[in-house]
């Protein structure tokens, strides 16, 4: 291997080709995904994110919640995601098409949150969950840490907005 140019050209191709084939081609395949109805004339999903939820997402990112929580439901047969009630159907790419920042995550120290908005019934319970028995109390004020800060309110709105319980063209729900 005398020729350094051969080596550099080879390494260039070894890096650039996968980038093109894996990343650029999936951008071509998935980049145009948008809101769509499951059936002709049906409602469009996924819904647009409310403004407060977008702020909440920023809080979620800045506190590193993604280091313990995923937001993706695997198909039945791969793990027990559906059996555990993390979702009623596997996640599909379209579910994330409205999100500026995709937080799939790769570690589950806590439960998956892809459908937390479906599970969470009351706002008080959401705030209780955010506190994690005290670890995130700094998001709350007052003697008893009952007064939610602006960030906690946004975070709760974000968590409540997380849902993939609609039919989409790639993943229809069984009626």
């Amino acid at each position: 291997m005398k020729n350094l140019n051969t080596l550099l050209a080879g390494v260039f191709l070894a890096v650039a080709l996968p980038f093109g084939a894996l990343v650029i081609s999936s951008q071509v395949q998935l980049g145009s995904l948008g809101r769509a109805p499951a059936e002709e004339g049906g409602p469009l999903f996924p819904s647009r994110e409310p403004g407060l939820a977008i702020q909440g997402r920023a809080v979620y990112v800045s506190l590193g919640c993604v280091s313990c929580h995923t937001q993706q439901v695997r198909p039945a047969g791969q793990g027990s995601d559906i059996a555990r009630g993390y979702g009623v159907r596997p996640s599909v790419a379209r579910d994330y098409s409205q999100q500026k920042q995709v937080l799939l995550g790769d570690r589950r120290l806590g439960p998956d949150l892809a459908n937390y908005g479906v599970r969470a019934k009351e706002l008080a319970a959401v705030h209780e969950a955010i506190k994690h028995q005290g670890a995130f109390e700094f998001l709350y004020a007052g003697d008893k840490k009952q007064v939610a800060s602006e960030r906690a309110i946004a975070l709760a709105a974000y968590l409540q907005s997380l849902r993939q319980d609609y039919s989409s063209p790639e993943a229809k729900l069984k009626q």
Binding site: V11, P18, V23, S26, S91, K100, R108
Partner: protein, 481 residues
């Protein structure tokens, strides 16, 4: 390979270095020590954060600094990983790769101050990035958490610190090359390319939806395999034959190992996305590439373990500080490759997905392999460059045993603990509380080994800094003359 024939040197063996400090070595002493000292400082910082993170992970509600926003787990974990990778791993390999180049070609580091400048900029940008993580300005993608303005600065700093030596290398007069050089050149070129493309896509011109995650997986696999992996392989190819004084067994296979490693590594990324909402063909490509990566893993195994197995190589390696670390690393790399191939497959992957298993694999590569190799190299290089001896043999022992035991215990806890964890999670009738309870013993192991690693690193730092301070070489060394 004309140069080789002229000197009558057998293939598969690096050139004999001069026993005196050569002019080139004097030239690179300055940048080398800057990189090395920064690396060790970051390693210490990362090790302290590692202990905190291990305690927090075991019990979010009762861990240290609970309720403290600055040191919340999400900040500590991200800062720890970034400091270990960008602070320790990059600085250390800047130093080591530079030194390897100087030993192998007739190499002259002209304008070495450029590399020094790159190192200074790299470390300043890194400091800023880590402060921003603690201040809550982090991104959501692992190893790309720094705020977006840090990316281009790191890229430029890399070009100066990591790529400039390659330019100098390309201009050297001799044509002959050795396996170590291919890996150094490949690593130093693959990383900046990867980093620029990833920055472009993830941060500056955000791709839509899950494509971000695909680009991220590609980035991480390149960083870990093509920078950490390739740089550490370069060092093993150098130190094994050098210290044992013999040729690499099956050296004629080494080019195959090199090319297949670079050919397959960059396709393995999507194997981190199995089961995720990304196209199936993409996941399959990642799995197949992970399996194909066995080819270079086997080639390096033949090269390394073959060399160590003949003429009581293992026992000689055990009795030499450098080789003790380096051969530990070589074994870890083989293990990493095998696990990587097996646990890519969907059935196995489904079990360990979202557990600590993936961290275990990363730890095998970046610590048990790469870091141990760097330690071994430091024991060889530093005495040459400083002209002093290691102050304390006892600290060397403490360092080896703490690092080796810590590395093994961490890997076992993350891998076996992750596998058990995954088995329980796969059974929906086991509640999460039960799963957490069953995992708490492994968390203890992780905490103890984090402390062990910290002890080892402190011992190493004391010894190394003591030696550097004591050294009497002229202060002007490393400047361009």
């Amino acid at each position: 390979m004309t140069q080789e024939n002229r000197s009558g040197r057998p293939q598969g063996r690096p050139p004999e270095g001069d026993s005196r400090l050569t002019r080139t070595e004097a030239q690179l002493r300055g940048p080398f020590l800057l990189f090395f000292v920064s690396a060790v400082i970051w390693l210490l910082a990362a090790s302290v954060l590692g202990v905190i993170a291990a305690l927090q992970q075991g019990s979010l509600a009762a861990g240290p600094f609970r309720g403290c926003e600055l040191l919340t787990y999400g900040h500590v974990a991200a800062a720890q990983r970034n400091l270990f990778v960008y602070g320790w791993g990059f600085n250390a390999f800047f130093a080591l790769n530079l030194w390897l180049l100087s030993q192998l070609g007739r190499f002259e580091l002209r304008n070495g101050w450029l590399a020094t400048l790159g190192g200074a900029v790299w470390n300043l940008a890194l400091t800023y990035g880590v402060i921003q993580i603690f201040a809550g300005n982090q991104g959501g993608f692992g190893l790309l958490e720094f705020p977006r303005e840090v990316g281009p600065v790191l890229a430029v700093a890399f070009l100066l610190a990591g790529f400039w030596p390659i330019v100098a290398f390309a201009r050297r007069p001799t044509g002959h090359t050795f396996a170590s050089q291919w890996f150094v050149v490949g690593a130093s070129f693959a990383f900046p390319l990867t980093y620029l493309l990833a920055q472009l896509l993830v941060l500056w011109q955000p791709a839509s939806g899950v494509v971000q995650a695909i680009a991220h997986s590609w980035f991480v696999s390149n960083l870990l395999l093509l920078w950490f992996g390739a740089s550490a392989l370069a060092a093993v190819y150098y130190f094994l034959p050098k210290v044992l004084g013999r040729t690499i067994s099956g050296y004629y296979l080494a080019p195959v190992g090199f090319w297949t490693f670079f050919l397959f590594a960059s396709w393995t990324g999507p194997s981190a996305l199995i089961g995720a909402p990304v196209p199936l063909w993409l996941q399959s490509v990642g799995v197949v590439a992970g399996a194909m990566l066995m080819v270079p893993v086997i080639v390096t195994a033949i090269n390394f373990h073959g060399t160590l197995s003949s003429e009581s190589g293992w026992s000689r390696a055990w009795n030499d500080t450098t080789l003790r670390f380096v051969s530990f690393g070589a074994v870890a790399f083989t293990l990493f490759g095998a696990l990587n191939a097996i646990f890519g497959f969907r059935g196995y992957n489904a079990v360990v997905r979202f557990t600590s298993f993936a961290s275990g694999q990363e730890q095998l590569l970046t610590y048990a392999f790469a870091t141990m190799v760097i330690f071994g190299a430091a024991y060889f290089v530093l005495p040459r460059l400083t002209g002093s001896l290691w102050p304390s043999a006892k600290l060397v022992h403490v360092h080896f045993w703490a690092a080796a035991l810590g590395a093994v215990a961490t890997a076992v806890a993350l891998l076996v603990g992750g596998y058990e964890n995954g088995k329980q999670l796969a059974d929906a009738s086991v509640s999460l509380a039960q799963v957490a309870k069953a995992g708490s013993a492994w968390n203890m192991v992780l905490t103890v080994s984090a402390v062990l690693l910290l002890v080892g690193h402190v011992a190493f730092a004391l010894n190394a800094f003591g030696m550097i301070l004591k050294s009497s070489a002229p202060a002007s060394a490393g400047r361009h003359d």
